[in-house]
Symmetry: C2
Subunit: 302 residues, 2 copies
């Protein structure tokens, strides 16, 4: 399953039992944590997220509502006896804070903490079946968005048929690329006989905290699902600009321009108790919008 579970959808001031930003992306049996606001470890317990399966954490920027839960999560992982490495991707400054907190506690973590400072757009992780990239957004301090992409070969091997035609396993990767096989007798086995079309690769983008920035839409062309912040309703456009945040309209316009299939909106200001106007305003521009409600898992499909 490729999906994202929302753990926190509120802006800086926790309100109405909404929590600061945190999301967990599940992709290829991996769990990736995006941002880690205060209380994230409690939200993980509440929504049955297995901490031990998280090996990579991505922090968009160093405003507290996006990382104040990280030190507690790391401490708890240590108390649970975690042994595998934990990779943390973030702008510069986080490593110093976390290491200082570990040092004053005179704590010896039983696992390795590996910090990766984000300085440029590009690939953060690339494996056979997926890739994670970062892209710049524009906020009051350096801030990054993240794209999670499935990597799929165009075709899948039909095992039964491939065995029947005596195709060696070493050739399977070429089959997946669409190549025909020529056997020892010189006969050509047409690719279509031994493969089936794969489903398209899906992708998910998290746009962090950002002012309305059309270049984001260019960078996210045809991403399957986009999460874009919508801190304010459209009548507070000026305030949004002033604080480097976006409105419902901004988020919906980015989704429209990016030709995405679905938009999730979140990072709601604590001004608002009722979120239904957020949905209505965004849907008026981009109909397939959903509220990033806490505890909800959205499946990501192409």
């Amino acid at each position: 399953m490729f999906g994202v579970t929302i753990l926190g959808n509120n802006s800086a001031l926790p309100a109405y039992n909404r929590h600061p930003t945190a999301q967990v992306v599940t992709m290829n049996e991996h769990l990736f944590l995006i941002d880690c606001g205060e209380g994230t470890q409690m939200q993980m317990s509440k929504y049955k997220i297995k901490r031990s399966r998280i090996n990579h954490i991505f922090i968009s920027h160093l405003h507290g509502d996006h990382y104040f839960g990280l030190a507690g999560l790391i401490t708890s992982m240590g108390l649970f006896g975690r042994e595998q490495d934990l990779h943390i991707f973030s702008p510069n400054g986080l490593q110093q804070i976390i290491q200082l907190q570990i040092q004053v506690a005179n704590m010896a973590l039983p696992f390795k903490l590996i910090f990766h400072t984000i300085e440029n757009e590009g690939i953060l992780i690339e494996e056979e079946k997926f890739r994670v990239k970062c892209f710049a957004v524009q906020h009051r301090i350096p801030c990054w968005g993240f794209i999670f992409q499935e990597i799929k070969k165009p075709r899948k091997v039909n095992n039964e048929a491939a065995i029947q035609h005596q195709i060696p396993a070493a050739f399977y990767n070429q089959l997946k690329e669409g190549k025909d096989y020529i056997n020892k007798l010189g006969e050509t086995i047409a690719n279509e006989l031994v493969t089936i079309a794969n489903t398209a690769a899906a992708s998910y983008a998290f746009c962090a905290d950002t002012v309305y920035l059309p270049s984001i839409a260019e960078k996210l062309q045809k991403v399957s699902t986009i999460y874009h912040e919508a801190t304010y309703l459209k009548d507070l456009k000026e305030r949004a600009l002033l604080r480097f945040h976006s409105t419902t309209e901004d988020a919906a316009n980015i989704a429209l321009q990016a030709n995405t299939k679905r938009l999730l909106i979140g990072h709601f200001s604590s001004k608002y108790e009722d979120l239904s106007p957020f949905l209505a305003e965004a849907q008026a521009i981009f109909s397939n919008t959903e509220l990033a409600l806490e505890g909800t898992t959205f499946e990501i499909t192409a």
Copy 2:
């Protein structure tokens, strides 16, 4: 009202919807926050604690479950436009962490943050009607307990009677000390005629995280209510010692030796879902024991 409200009563790993340590002492119209584990600001909202009325925060030690909520609380106070000074008392190291977090966020707080490093036992705050002191306990890293004491003159002036006997207001403080008044005619007005006995001064002690330490009982003689941690049940005495924590028996013995009126126990290990054995074990030694349950306000009387 002199009282303490429990916001968090669990040890390091949050569990069973119990939160890391935080308590609010109300005394003489002041609110004092003791420790500030992750999620304290959410617990304050839940239990209707007015953040704006807190001007003094006491952090017992720099294990995360006692201060990881502080940066979030300070940030939120700033977003709420707080202007009055905030005093933070803690062991060395906290100022550097908080200032680093403020710096990376490029945040300008609208109020002054004043750090006081605790290095010795003694008085932290002394005003006319109350006093806050700290005392050393013994944990894995430097750790402090706090005592909140009402200051009351032995007697209260009976205003009506004092006016009737033409005693000048300038002499009232001496009346409160029990002195007689001699008027212009040389007549002695007996103190009992114009004053009534005051109620006794009450006091509350928070013993933080500590191994069983008999000297604590010496320092807390006749404190009205003592909060003492009881991380484990008595059968885990060895583990408690190893981790510089206490058991139910340890806490109850300290209460007994200190001649206190009431014992509150908390900082329960996440091993335990059911807390009733904690109460039973402690009450077997010190009957007036209560569980420091979250959301409960305990009135402190002499």
